[in-house]
Amino acid sequence: MSVGLEHYLIVSAALFSLGLLGVIMRRNLLVIYMSLELMLNAANLALVAFSRFNNNLDGQLMVFFIITVAAAEVAVGLALIVALYRKRQSAHVEDLVSMKL
């Protein structure tokens, strides 16, 4: 069996759905954040696959930008979550309720 574009896309869609599911279902901020990274990597996989099968390197190039930006986002995000943890002693979404209607 040869591996075609659709196989890559199915894996990528599965990764994306798993990430989305994790964001919706999990209650810990760090796990949610990991799931978000999974979603970005699902997109990276799709981009690389499209790049390879379209013979167009633009997609690969985009992946480099996404990886770089994701690294910056993680640095800022983790710092924020740590700051919140120090203030609240908790990293659970149920505790983010100080602002209500």
Partner: protein
């Protein structure tokens, strides 16, 4: 490659780095002037931008950076907004408990992101500039680390912002897969040459996901959940920049995408855009009614504004695009005037409840007048800028109604939204002039730069409202580059 095209962005980034470096060497008591120096620097860049000529579109970095009339219009918009935001942050800097210089630098970096967004000619720059804005705003929103609310707002913005960029990136991947290109111009040519492509499900799914990412930025329904909490928790200058700059960056990217890159697809999306716009207007206006917090109130009203801006997209006409640009111009002055007043009032009162405005009419006539005018303009009462902006948008909707009667329903919804906004805007004005329990009647001192920016906002609201011709012409010139 023509690097001289990005001279404005380079200047802004250098200014930001300069602020960070100067912070190292300046003694603490003189750092306050640093924010004003940054504001002055941005003003110089703004002045320089009037020497640039963008009548012929020019490109850099392949096709991914475009310098045209639309880009220049929005770059000036962002630069002007940043000047006022920097002045506000100087006013507000005592509430940061240290690190004010980093705040100024981050505002400048976010500004650079917005200016790049105005020039996005492809998905690469769209993504990178959007992320530059969003990641900077994560820090700006949670800048008051001693306040739990500020941190909480920051984390909420972080999670939902990262989620929306996940959708955006996946959407870009799908569009790239279907269209085979990252550039807007090439995508447009391919769509025009090949009508089959516009109906390819994978392309449509990708574009919808990109729309999710951009809808999040402008806080349109159903991606508006973050807005009220983040607006409430963030420091007031950040909220102002979020309401004006970040939203306008989303709008310019939507313009470039829907009306520049994929007009053939967007033509079929009028129902989707109409529903989004109508629901956003109703949601923002209705939820604003019971609010007691001023920042939260402005948060809901900014959701409603996103709905009005979407009216222009739903109309899918040149008149609609001109109206979008004009409305944004009026919105800039209106919202920044309101937040400039809030910065001063919140610093004094330490709560953002509407009752903090009690007696403002006696304490400072200028602040009271500026906030009143901002509210009147936000509600859309003539002769201020907000009225004419809404008028142009509704006119574009009525014109579109000639082909599709559903637009008249949309018009009715928008009018209901306007009536509701009258109610909550007048609640604020009542609190300024007619509240009974005035605890504090001492006069409020306003610093010279803030006074100047308040006058600038008032002048802008009056000028755009009374003499709309020049601004409409400028907007018409800017939207010439779009494919409509």
């Amino acid at each position: 490659m023509n690097t001289s095209l990005i001279v404005l962005e380079i200047a802004v980034v250098l200014l930001g780095l300069g602020v960070l470096l100067a912070d190292l060497w300046l003694p603490a008591e003189r750092r306050r002037a640093l924010g004003l120096a940054a504001a002055f620097g941005v003003m110089m860049v703004l002045c320089y931008s009037f020497r640039l000529d963008a009548s012929v579109p020019q490109f850099a970095f392949g096709q991914s950076y475009v310098f045209d009339a639309l880009a220049l219009f929005f770059k000036r918009f962002f630069l002007f907004a940043a000047v006022l935001v920097l002045v506000m942050s100087v006013e507000f800097s005592d509430s940061f408990h240290g690190g004010a210089s980093e705040f100024y630098a981050l505002v400048l970096f976010a500004l650079a992101g917005m200016m790049f967004a105005a020039s996005a000619g492809g998905f690469v720059l769209l993504f990178v500039s959007l992320e530059l804005i969003t990641v900077t705003f994560y820090v700006l929103v949670s800048f008051q680390r001693h306040r739990a609310q500020s941190l909480e707002a920051g984390v909420k913005y972080l999670i939902l912002g990262a989620l929306s960029s996940g959708f955006l990136v996946y959407g870009i991947a799908l569009v790239f897969g279907a269209g085979g290109t990252m550039d807007f111009a090439q995508l447009q040519q391919k769509l025009a040459a090949n009508h089959e492509l516009a109906h390819k499900p994978i392309l449509l799914a990708g574009l919808l996901l990109v729309l999710v990412g951009l809808g999040f930025k402008i806080a349109a329904f159903p991606f508006q959940i973050w807005a009220p909490d983040v607006y409430q928790g963030a420091p007031a200058p950040t909220t102002a920049f979020l309401a004006v700059g970040s939203k306008a960056a989303g709008i310019v990217l939507l313009l470039r995408l829907l009306q520049g890159a994929v007009p053939d697809v967007a033509q079929h999306w009028e129902k989707l855009l109409m529903v989004m716009s109508g629901v956003t207007i109703l949601y923002g206006s209705l939820c604003a009614i019971p609010q007691r917090g001023l920042k939260r109130l402005l948060g809901y009203s900014s959701i409603a504004s996103a709905g009005y801006l979407l009216l222009g997209f739903a109309a899918m006409s040149r008149a609609g695009s001109v109206a979008i640009l004009y409305y944004l111009g009026g919105y800039l002055f209106t919202v920044l005037a309101a937040f400039a007043v809030l910065c001063v009032v919140l610093r004094q009162a330490d709560s953002d409840d509407i009752s903090a405005l009690a007696g403002l009419g006696q304490r400072s006539p200028l602040l009271a007048a500026a906030l009143t005018m901002a509210m009147v303009s936000l509600a859309g009462i003539p002769p201020l800028a907000g009225f004419f902006g809404k008028f142009l948008l509704l006119k574009a909707v009525v014109e579109a109604g000639a082909d599709n009667p559903a637009f008249y329903w949309l018009l009715a919804v928008a009018l209901v939204g306007v009536v509701i906004s009258l109610y909550y805007c007048f609640g604020v004005i009542r609190a300024i002039y007619w509240s009974k329990n005035t605890a504090d009647t001492s006069a409020i001192e306003i610093s010279m730069p803030l006074r100047a920016s308040l006058y600038a906002c008032i002048a802008g609201m009056l000028y755009l409202g009374l003499f709309p011709r020049a601004a409409v012409d400028a907007a018409a010139l800017a939207v010439n580059v779009l494919k409509l």
